[in-house]
């Protein structure tokens, strides 16, 4: 398939304005005649649904939680970037663009990233107007802090609850539209298939999670803003319900899946404590502003950290990367932590941990300042580990956190299925092979508030929409597929729980397709995943029935999709014979152990197409061209 990203010609600074001008508009009186489905109520979906409702479209918004306010975006802690340059420290739209392209290790599309940087400033204005209580200076102006991968302070925050406050802003805007009657909210409902009629996305099939009822929703366009798929690893920092189902089913209906192997492992999470562990808790990256990362210089040193003298500590990030120090990008920080632990310097019971130490900052700034900056994170840490981080350094270890991969979209955020748009973490668009901190919130809101309201109008204005009846064969086929899958899962009645399979699948991926990957390991993983998937369909047990609240059944469907996605992740990782960003293939590294890109052969987006249940996916390539930021070996030294 020939992939056309529809990037406007001309200088990058004017591309978005030009694209907007070239778009056809929908007459205001006609807007309410168009039905749009938005799946997801996180930052991307919530902001899109609210903004489209304000424009006058007839919107249905769907989420699986009991209320839109609980979407996983709520959990984001650290902040949101914007090129405001309030601190006067050299920030600009171009610098944010440059940092994001470089941070993504030159695997993102320049035009998208530039537009993101341009929109960033409007996002802050919008959120402030909605009442988001960002942190302020005494004089009343907005406060900023710095974040990994950047040398300027461009991050806006609301204590350690930035995602919560931004989402509440979008949620309130959404509730306002629900009240105005432009948006119908359908909560506790899961999308289980996409309806494609005559090549256009025309609706979805859903299941209500309390009544088990199946429903068909027909529309003129479908927007997926269903978040990331990090939970394919079982243990991750994502909320328990985060899943790949919506985008995976769309993939099976013809949307291409781009760069599935680009997953982000976050360096600062609380280490795993036991077998029963159900999720991993992130300690925001902002902690690296004031915390110093170290391990003992002696292998297997079991002394308590406070008894290890200064000169017997190895502040390895400061040593190896003097100019960025503890603020190197996430992939670099994670990989270094893994290396230290692999070499036997790790701390804690399991040896899988490094120290994040605040004693120096507390001495310099006082405990009060540190409490003000990070109080709720410190409390969270103490609650989980029963250790006081004001006195004892935190123990941290990398954990799966974010997925840069997702459905392929063009510049207008449209997938390869006309009428299917994908926003937020669910698409692959702006972060290349590694996302910089505080950039996901920015992207979700840029997509939802400022991009989709323009691009969807163009699509609606330039296409025809014949009425689709529920009796349409394509509709019925989708409904039958959904029902029969659920009936099958309920009827297997095997001997293993869904969670036990999910845990095992996650372990395979973590071991072979986590922070370090090899061709041999990936091949092994693909075999193991296939075998386990086969066992799943013979031996899983799902209790209860399909006609009431049944969480095991919800999970069973999601894990079935994770199995298929896991295989594609490994296929993609195996195909990419280079290291870039979070994708580290051990065969391809510089003498200093840094990621070694191969721009000559791999400067492309790998967009995979579904070809059938037992046939290999088809690789399509979107070549990446860099006119403004010249690809170089990333250096944070």
């Amino acid at each position: 398939m020939k992939l056309d990203a529809n990037i406007p010609s001309g200088p990058i600074e004017e591309a978005w304005a030009k694209a907007c001008f070239d778009m056809k508009l929908v007459n205001p009186a006609n807007k309410r005649k168009h039905n749009i489905i938005v799946v997801g109520s996180g930052l991307a979906g919530g902001s899109a649904a609210a903004s489209l409702g304000e424009l006058g479209y007839n919107v249905k918004c769907i989420c699986f939680q009991d209320t839109p306010r609980r979407a996983h975006s709520i959990a984001a802690q650290g902040g949101i970037n914007a090129a405001k340059n309030y601190p006067n420290d050299g920030e600009s739209v171009f610098r944010l663009f440059y940092d994001t392209v470089k941070g993504g290790d030159f695997r993102a599309r320049e035009a998208n990233v530039y537009r993101l940087a341009q929109n960033s400033t409007k996002i802050i204005d919008q959120c402030v107007a909605q009442g988001v209580p960002f942190a302020r200076e005494y004089g009343g102006s907005l406060a900023n802090r710095s974040f990994g991968g950047a040398q300027v302070s461009r991050t806006f925050y609301a204590r350690g609850q930035t995602g919560q406050q931004l989402l509440l802003g979008a949620y309130q805007a959404l509730e306002r539209q629900i009240h105005a009657g432009t948006v119908t909210m359908i909560a506790k409902t899961e999308m289980l298939d996409l309806i494609v009629v005559d090549g256009q996305a025309r609706g979805i099939v859903t299941r209500h999670l309390i009544t088990g009822e199946y429903n068909i929703h027909i529309a003129d366009a479908v927007i997926l803003a269903t978040g990331g798929y990090g939970n394919v690893f079982y243990l991750s920092t994502n909320a328990k319900g985060s899943n790949t189902t919506a985008i995976w089913r769309a993939y099976k209906r013809g949307a291409l899946f781009a760069n599935p192997c680009f997953t982000q492992i976050h360096p600062t999470c609380i280490p795993v404590s036991g077998e029963y562990q159900s999720k991993l808790t992130l300690m925001s990256e902002s902690l690296r502003n004031d915390g110093r990362i170290w391990v003992p210089k002696k292998k297997g040193d079991t002394r308590p950290p406070n008894q290890i003298p200064e000169d017997e500590r190895d502040y390895y990030l400061e040593r190896r990367y003097p100019s960025f120090g503890n603020l190197v990008p996430r992939d670099v920080a994670s990989r270094n932590a893994k290396t230290m632990c692999d070499e036997g310097y790790g701390v804690g019971k399991s040896g899988l941990g490094v120290y994040l130490d605040f004693s120096e900052a507390i001495n310099r700034l006082g405990e009060k300042t540190i409490r003000e900056r990070y109080g709720n994170l410190f409390d969270m840490y103490q609650r989980i580990t029963d250790e006081d981080p004001y006195k004892v350094p935190m123990r941290i270890f990398p954990a799966v956190h974010y997925t840069m991969g997702g459905l392929w979209v063009d510049y207008g955020l449209q997938s390869t299925i006309p009428g299917l748009f994908v926003l937020g973490e669910a698409n692959f668009s702006d972060h290349g092979a590694n996302r910089l901190g505080a950039s996901a919130l920015m992207q979700g809101l840029s997509d939802g508030y400022f991009i989709i309201p323009n691009t969807i109008g163009h699509y609606l204005a330039t296409h025809k929409f014949a009425k689709v009846e529920n009796s349409n064969p394509a509709v019925q086929e989708a409904l039958t597929t959904v029902k029969s899958k659920i009936d099958t899962l309920l009827s297997i009645k095997g001997k293993r729980t869904v969670d036990s399979f999910h845990r095992e699948l996650g372990k395979i991926l973590w071991d072979y397709c986590g922070m370090a990957r090899t061709a041999e390991g990936l091949q092994l993983a693909i075999g193991k995943i296939r075998a386990l998937r086969e066992e799943y369909w013979k031996n899983v047990t799902v209790p209860g029935t399909g006609d009431d609240l049944n969480e095991s059944l919800e999970k069973a469907g999601r894990v079935a999709d994770f199995f298929e996605l896991a295989e594609l992740i490994c296929i993609d990782a195996l195909d990419r014979n280079e290291s870039c960003g979070g994708h580290f293939r051990e065969e391809y590294q510089t003498p200093e152990g840094e990621a070694q890109r191969d721009d000559e052969h791999y400067s492309y987006v790998a967009a995979w197409g579904y070809t059938g249940p037992n046939s290999a996916p088809e690789l399509n390539k979107e070549p990446l061209e860099f006119q403004y930021v010249h690809p170089s070996q990333r250096s944070y030294k």
């Binding site: 400022f450 001997k495 209790p543 209860g544």
Partner: protein, 262 residues
């Protein structure tokens, strides 16, 4: 350690419901009480029984999904802690721990420990926002907001919408939740203009949903995992009064409540 969980089991709203006791062995102090339920559920599934339904998502105290009454206290014994963050080290070997759902007229029963909390959304829908559309915003730093005001707003904005305040209140009032949103928006200059109207609309909806009246008992703030201060209720009453005096036009149409005729 070993504990006994005494859990309210109820198939659906028409079922009568009852407590059932379950023993859980191999409980680790670092486990959360939700993870303890996970362990129980895994064993129930393998024994061919129906697992216990409970709400959860983020498991880090921010989404507001989780919540049930633990030994008579909403979210359990630890102050400022949601159920998902409550670790088992707060219990002793051999303890019997009672778990039951939020009980309030406005929160109809769904199953086991799950109730329907959509009434809280309706209160927000009625007016819990600043009426600004996308694209209408002025430059963010054009409106200085003192740090104290921003902090006061943030303290109230920290509400996670879990409903524990309702469950803890003998009157099943939602005043802390509603007051938190009214305070979050009302103390900010952006939200000032609409504050009277906002309070009138939200309070009217709160009453329509069948939440009880606030009689200043204060159980809500004690149970609140985000320690939302009681002052937010005073702020709600002030804005309500100011709205009643100034009211010139009709309020927005009320939303059909979750429990009809409540």
């Amino acid at each position: 350690m070993k504990v006994t969980l005494k859990i309210w089991r109820q198939k659906n709203s028409s079922d009568k419901g009852q407590f059932v006791k379950y023993r859980v062995d191999d409980v680790d102090g670092e486990m959360s009480i939700l993870e303890c339920l996970d362990v129980l559920n895994e064993s129930l599934i393998l024994r061919g029984e129906v697992p216990v339904a409970f709400e959860h998502d983020c498991r880090e105290g921010i989404c507001g999904s989780c919540g049930f009454v633990i030994n008579g206290v909403a979210h359990g014994p630890e102050r400022g802690t949601t159920a998902c963050q409550l670790t088992m080290r707060h219990f002793k070997d051999g303890d019997e721990i009672t778990l039951e759902p939020w009980r309030a007229k406005a929160f109809p029963m769904v199953k086991d420990l799950v109730v329907n909390r959509r009434a809280l959304d309706h209160i927000i829908e009625a007016g819990g926002y600043i009426s600004v559309g996308t694209g209408q915003a002025p430059e963010a730093n054009g409106l200085p907001i003192g740090k104290e005001i921003a902090d006061q707003s943030m303290d109230a904005a920290a509400c996670i919408g879990c409903g524990a305040c309702v469950a803890a209140c003998p009157n099943a009032a939602a005043a802390l939740f509603t007051g938190a949103k009214i305070t979050h928006l009302g103390v900010l200059p952006q939200g000032e203009t609409e504050k009277g109207r906002r309070a009138l609309a939200m309070v009217a909806q709160m009453n329509a949903e069948g939440f009880g009246n606030c009689t200043n008992i204060g159980e809500c703030t004690a149970a609140c995992p985000k320690e939302i201060p009681l002052d937010v209720i005073a702020k709600m009453n002030r804005d309500y009064l100011c709205g009643s005096i100034k009211q010139r036009e009709d309020l927005p149409t009320p939303v059909a409540p979750v429990v009809q005729g409540a």
